[in-house]
Point group: C2
Chain length 202, copies 2
């Protein structure tokens, strides 16, 4: 019996969708979003091009679903452990962030800095991802009884850009250790430290 056919029969629609997105994310580590070919993915999944279009009405829809999935994966990997104190929680989240981006280095760099990274719809998804990260970081702030002012919100947005840039540079050219990197990322956000002044002195 042909293995491909078994797969085709056994996968539920949700599982098939998952499989296609996971193949898309893998492909994203090899080439830019715009270069991800429907034909290649369908072939790798052992399904017809037509079936792929059943799940994603257009190539564009497929590409954006890949970005959305990748973005959800990051957020999923960064769920705070609420049993920890705020500073521990931040360090724990940043450790998992560095692990995630190290494991998914090429697709992460491609999404954030690749040729397609200026795409307006892609930006909307990444922007939403950052907003959710800002909200999570502000939760640490609330634990630490810090009043969330527009200034703090802005600083946290900036901190996320700092984290992305430093991490991408580090992934490309790791001149410091993983521990030094995490120290730097955590240390750049004093807002989470319980005794921090209400003014962010990032």
């Amino acid at each position: 019996m042909n293995v491909d056919i078994v797969k085709r029969i056994r996968l539920s629609p949700a599982e098939r969708r998952d499989q296609l997105l996971e193949l898309g994310i893998k492909m994203l580590s090899l080439r830019g979003l715009e270069q991800i070919s429907i034909e290649d993915i369908a072939k790798m999944a052992g399904i017809s091009r037509g079936l792929l279009f059943h799940y994603f009405p257009s190539k564009r829809d497929f590409h954006l679903a890949i970005v959305q999935r990748s973005s959800d994966d990051i957020l999923g990997a960064l769920t705070p452990n609420e049993e920890l104190t705020p500073p521990e929680m931040l360090r724990d989240v940043m450790e998992r962030y560095v692990t995630y981006v190290t494991d998914n280095r090429d697709s992460y760099v491609s999404l954030l800095r690749g040729p397609g990274s200026g795409d307006p719809e892609l930006r909307v998804i990444l922007e939403d991802n950052r907003k959710q990260l800002v909200d999570r970081i502000l939760i640490f702030g609330r634990f630490a009884d810090i009043d969330i002012t527009p200034r703090i919100e802005l600083a946290v947005r900036g901190w996320i850009a700092f984290v992305e840039e430093v991490t991408i540079s580090w992934l490309t050219e790791p001149k410091i250790t993983r521990e030094e990197l995490i120290d730097m990322l955590v240390g750049a956000l004093p807002v989470t430290v319980p005794d921090a002044a209400p003014v962010v002195s990032l």
Copy 2:
């Protein structure tokens, strides 16, 4: 006598090139780089399409020259005043930066966050611009007798991403004052403060 003809006669090749680039930068505040039309610019300059191509061999060359000019303009606006102490120098540079981006708001946001901002060649120019900014910031550090480690270099790169993100958010939605913004940008770079520890605690 026709004013356009006078203009055409009077501009030297260097002046004409400047004029075309300045028109391009103005246009960049209205639309993305890819949407800047050679025909429109030639019309605004009162020259033929062919003459524009004499200065810039292709539309692509023209677009990249606009990015290069815009990038040079920013660096030009941020020349440090070496008569100041390092902390004063940083504040002075950041004040000029905020003035520059406020005056060139739309083209600045378009370059850094527009649909074309993922373009690889555009990124190379902006990346080079950031490297030059990092070097300048490290000069402040040297004035302050701080040893420039790979860690500090990485932190300064991250700080530039912080500055860009915070400033773009602020330009889009100015929830804090200009003075508060400058305080935040300056405060995020303790490396420049003479008595800072050799470890960047951004």
